[in-house]
Symmetry: C4
Subunit: 268 residues, 4 copies
Amino acid sequence: MKSRIYEIMEKAKSRDIPSLIFDWTLVTLISLNVLSVILESFSSLKKQYEHFFSIFELVSVVIFTIEYFLRIWTSNLKYPRKTKVLSALAFIFSGMAIIDLLSILPFYIPLATSIDLRVLRVLRLTRMLRILKIGRYSASMALIGRVLKRSKSDLIVTLFVTFLLLLLASSLMYYVENPVQPDKFPNIVASAWWTIVTLTTVGYGDVYPITVLGKVLGGIIALLGIGLVALPTGIISSGFMEEIRLKNQSTTTKDKVCPHCGLPIGDN
Amino acid sequence: MKSRIYEIMEKAKSRDIPSLIFDWTLVTLISLNVLSVILESFSSLKKQYEHFFSIFELVSVVIFTIEYFLRIWTSNLKYPRKTKVLSALAFIFSGMAIIDLLSILPFYIPLATSIDLRVLRVLRLTRMLRILKIGRYSASMALIGRVLKRSKSDLIVTLFVTFLLLLLASSLMYYVENPVQPDKFPNIVASAWWTIVTLTTVGYGDVYPITVLGKVLGGIIALLGIGLVALPTGIISSGFMEEIRLKNQSTTTKDKVCPHCGLPIGDN
Amino acid sequence: MKSRIYEIMEKAKSRDIPSLIFDWTLVTLISLNVLSVILESFSSLKKQYEHFFSIFELVSVVIFTIEYFLRIWTSNLKYPRKTKVLSALAFIFSGMAIIDLLSILPFYIPLATSIDLRVLRVLRLTRMLRILKIGRYSASMALIGRVLKRSKSDLIVTLFVTFLLLLLASSLMYYVENPVQPDKFPNIVASAWWTIVTLTTVGYGDVYPITVLGKVLGGIIALLGIGLVALPTGIISSGFMEEIRLKNQSTTTKDKVCPHCGLPIGDN
Amino acid sequence: MKSRIYEIMEKAKSRDIPSLIFDWTLVTLISLNVLSVILESFSSLKKQYEHFFSIFELVSVVIFTIEYFLRIWTSNLKYPRKTKVLSALAFIFSGMAIIDLLSILPFYIPLATSIDLRVLRVLRLTRMLRILKIGRYSASMALIGRVLKRSKSDLIVTLFVTFLLLLLASSLMYYVENPVQPDKFPNIVASAWWTIVTLTTVGYGDVYPITVLGKVLGGIIALLGIGLVALPTGIISSGFMEEIRLKNQSTTTKDKVCPHCGLPIGDN
């Protein structure tokens, strides 16, 4: 029975009706949760239907909690370890499980604590990502996942270089603009806001340099921002190409073997 | 005679004079319609030449209506189905036909209705896309179409992930900024406006975070916006490369067959 | 002597001293002209050194005029045609010659005419592009030129689709926002300013939608703007890859011919 | 002993404990220096802990100075030249050494000089880049470095064309907008600020055209800005693909040699 429950909760096989029902019920419940978070943000709606919202929240949290414990119970099927406790821990500290826990925990923590953790409810949104694993878009989802995984190391280096550039640009800009605009560039951390808004080419216009040196520096930083867009794009592009190349290779090599060499022909 | 009319209305063969005349008359009429919509938006021009605009609109709608019915009449040549009615329905519910209908319908619906549907006239603009099918740019148009079709599934997944990111970022930003700027972030739907303006790196500057936490979050969202540009660009780039590779393959394989193996050499 | 003058004015061979002197003199003169245009834009400098600026302008125009007539004279060497007049006309109506003429013509047209054509002097800037043809960056310049030429047709289609999208978005936005912001969206042409600023993700913030429908529409248009960046990037990326592939092919095929097949191996 | 010191200061071998200690000590010291620069920018913190900051600065500069002289001393091992002096000079004028010197020099120059050079302290940030050479991301760092080096010439041409476009657009915009907005476009240099903010699609909104001609011109320049993003992205993308292709080639050619031809098969 345990392995049957596990089967139902995992990705549905094409004809497993209970599993499909489970999947779509959960998708519906998550969607309704997202809708409820959005609607509750309208203060007029919240006042009028407060009772309804709290009942729905109660029902949702109960279901999600049951699901969470069922997943701990069946964790030894997903994460086979020496003991059941190790399996449960392997599950609990997996990325998805932490997010799941965070999204239901705020309900159980007494609301008397000064920090309002209900904001964590929005994490339920991330569960929507799992919807993509069901159905026709799973191949695309897997492809994008593989490309990002393949490019991970290059993207991290790009992010690190961006971070250094951010620090350097913010420091220089602070020294140049602080004497003239002490309210806009009060310290290096605050001037990092300007830098990130410029490097990403968002440019709200709430902060911008007004000195000549600041404008020259700002122009150079904006041009470097173009590079910040170009580098990850190049990395991701080549990642996609490499994936397509590998797919072509594996489909073509089967039939195209030179009878002379006994080696595949034309696969690079 | 029916198949002759169909021939004339479809894409012109290189020397079919009546068909070419039909194509270019329609292109001219559509262009004049677009011009008329633009000119009518100038209130001074509209007042002065109101009579002229309404006559031109009448003439245009009559021509477009005749064309629409002729297309229904000849639909069994384009969409061969069991009965004529099925062919007509296949045409009527095709994307292009719906747009055509929407662009002439407002004229027939009494203007007394409260909603002014004349805005739908601008849909006539989309007919301009068909111009590209005629003439020297048809190959490029077809290439871009094939690339977008090939990348469709990946782009939809990107759009879905963007949509989740949009919801998540808007919710977080609402919880962080609402207490300080209740007029700028009144609810999650309103704060989605900020998120989309930031993720697409437009950055009007009408709404921006002012709290420290909001700025940190905003910076991270803006950086993720770079990824939002990088992903579709990478997908489309690899789509173009794949198309070019396929074209090269089909042109080179003909002559390059190894006389030993009888298999194509060097096509990957 | 005529062909010697032609040789000197054309791209310098590596050791042709007079030709190199000619090239670098012209580059220096153009650079000084650009500097003069920039300096003259400072009203204080213009007043103080007005005399100096007009003498320098006189000298420059005389030199450029002599060069222009020398090029007409030697045009039959560059554009061999049946008669000298045809050669001269072929030169005069070439893109570069038209720009050259436009950049010196304003001097000769009496300044009494109401329109101040001196703005055309800035066209001398475009002559700087020719500098890239000299020296070590000529290969890169040629590569970028070939890529843009190869992608020309695809880029034109992208531009045309962008133009249609611009018209469609501007019309819809005019109908949605005009009743609420008649000063910001007075007509379709004016609302095209908003559309282009949004589609290119510049986003100054001088105009932005304030109605809910306008914001929804604006968000969709901003997302389409991402596509507007992704499409040309993909086209240009694949253009660069194709150029590199062709270069690799031509360098590798020479040595790698299978002695069995007599055909190149492994070039795709 | 000299070569041992050199070994310790250079990139650590996997089990060389003193070298690893040296590397990580320096990384920690640089990180603390960066933190100190950031914290000192908060005026309240600076006042309160001024004594602490100056002691830390003194200690840091002493350590960096000792390191600098040790590197000069061991320079003949890194830059083998005819004489020791030539080796030392080769080191001193290397890019990294100049930055190192600039980042400690301001301490030694008497603070009485009118220009406050302490801003150069932020250059210590660039030393963080060396951290990437240690550890698991060194391969990605090297890959990005190779791609940028390979694309250098193409990127320089793009930058030069951008510079010409910047000058041309600024000049035209000055002539068009100056009569209406003399405070926003006072001269060509000032209007270059608008151009760069537009070309990079940042768009703060502090300056924007208000005349019809200016908006038309601005729209065209913004569209060209899209090209400015597309070109380097395409160049960098193709650079990454070329690097991946070369890597694949070198790993596959070893095993895939046709026993008939004795030539590698399928490498393109």
